[in-house]
Amino acid sequence: MTRRIKPITTAAVIFFLVSAVAPLFVSSWATLFALILAKGIVVLGIVLLLQAGQVSFGHAMFFAIGAYTSAFWGKYIGGGDILLYLVLGGISSTVFGLIVGLFVVRYREIFFGMLNLAFSMVLWSLLEKMFPYTNGADGIRVARPGLLGFVFTPETFQYVILYVSLLIAAAAFYGVQRYLESPLGHMLRAIKSNETRLEYLGMSARRVLLIGYVISAFLGGIGGTLVAIIQQIATPEFGFWTKSGEFVFIAILGGGAHAFGAFAGAAMFEWVRFYAAAHLADSWQLILGVVLIVIILYAPNGLIGLRQRYRQSGKRGR
């Protein structure tokens, strides 16, 4: 198993290094890479649930909770700091994840997915309709926060938030991969293949899934907080079902067999969107759709499954 993972880990290290260095040469990439890393963190949560064979079509709710926590703090309390926003966003999404999780982990497959969707749409409606508090569809502006008391110009800030995102993404990647290799991570995988046996080994499958769910909610909240800081706004769109679909799309694109799949998928998605949007304006989704069709046809295990597929086809050719 170790031999199979190693090349992916190497690819992950290269990816994080490129994320750190490339924007130093092309400044417009700083925000692009920061967004890739932030969304990669959210998608890590989706990848985590995929281990148990569960797909959440409502994870944007945790993304929105993280984003709105920063927005509310800025609007009602004022001031703020990147670290404070991250701590608050992490706590609020974790608490919300625990509450929602207690309901949804009782269900599996399509029911799990749709119940998540239902919760996220309730949140989206609240954000849209409670105009006096949320500014409705306009959202809430998130003023550029400082970091540990330091205040930055817009030019410097894009690098500050890039490196904060990079540190958190690398830590999240390492933590999630360790978790997946731990007994609890293996038990999460065991839910997918044989939940009955897990119960007969003395474990509560629901509790194992709940732990995974809360971790994934936390990751969603952290990613949402970062995106709100990067884009300096939180809107109800952050919690809309299309956003949840986008995260699932990225997870499938990258592949769910390893934590790096989340970042590989996020990089491909944001990169295609960045350049396709520049050339095709409102038709960039067409390009993304074609990319997904190609991935499903030729790399059903996502981008990180390409190498394995290539090796297998090489063996067959010999």
Binding site: E181, S182, P183, A190, R197, E199, Y200, L201, G202
Partner: protein, 247 residues
């Protein structure tokens, strides 16, 4: 007489018009291998399902070491010391045999926290010993789905043994296995049970297996226990021969 491990008192359960248990009374003694025989639909598996918490009887109680476990969940009963092996082996097919075993070992500890890799758990050597004991050590690094049926059965039993149970309930441990392998599997299995000091109850249709490996036999028929005794006593009973064995 040895201590009573499991005791079922006046168990009743029916599914619509089918009576699966109609006043079942049975004791399982420490150290024995108790075989349950009977025609299909007699309620043998239902008894295992009730004893492991998968089904709740409509009347009666099941006690384990004197503790009432009738309303307990399967995982609670497992923690008390009753493990189960299934007619169709229940493995984590996408994981290796050793990972399957280590998940069982970790489960025995409760909810493992921390980020220690599963493969580095200190129980790894103990799990290797168990796999050796049931004769599937050479499959340790293979995915469970790649194993032949007979080996899957043995891994399923090894998983149960990894929990260090006092009592192991097995549903047709040799079904689906080539007849040439049955004796070998049962030899391995009974030796492992004796070495680990595990009492067993096994449902079986093959009377050769029952005669050779059971200490006592309970005969099930239409939700009732028709007879309990040594294999020689039970298999020689004309009623059992006629109604259950079909001679």
């Amino acid at each position: 007489m040895a201590d009573v491990l499991l005791s079922a008192k006046d168990i009743k359960i029916r599914f619509g018009g089918v009576i699966a248990a109609d006043g079942i009374n049975l004791e399982v003694h420490e150290g024995e291998n108790l075989a349950i025989i009977g025609p299909n639909g007699a309620g043998k598996t239902t008894f295992l399902n009730i004893s492991t918490g998968y089904l709740r009887p409509q009347a009666g109680t099941v006690t384990f070491l004197g503790q009432d476990i009738t309303a307990h969940l399967p995982r609670t009963i497992t923690k008390l010391g009753i493990a189960r092996a299934f007619q169709i082996p229940q493995l984590f097919l996408d994981q290796t045999v050793m990972e399957n075993m280590l998940i069982a070992a970790a489960s025995r500890q409760g909810y493992p926290s921390g980020f220690k890799a599963l493969s580095r758990l200190p129980e790894a050597s103990e799990m290797e010993r168990l796999l050796e004991l049931v004769g599937v050590r050479s499959y340790a690094e293979r995915k469970a789905r790649e194993l032949p049926e007979g080996q899957r059965k043995l891994v399923d039993i090894a998983l149960a043994l990894a929990l260090k149970p006092r009592l192991l309930l097995m549903d047709e441990p040799t079904s689906g296995v080539a007849s040439s392998e049955k004796l070998e599997i049962m030899d391995i299995l009974t030796a492992a049970l004796a070495k680990e000091k595990v009492t067993s109850v096994f449902v079986e249709h093959d009377m050769d297996m029952v005669e050779r490996y059971a200490h006592r036999v309970a005969v099930w028929n239409v939700g009732k226990i028709q007879k309990v005794g040594t294999p020689a006593e039970v298999l020689a009973d004309p009623k059992v021969q006629q109604q259950v064995i079909g001679i």
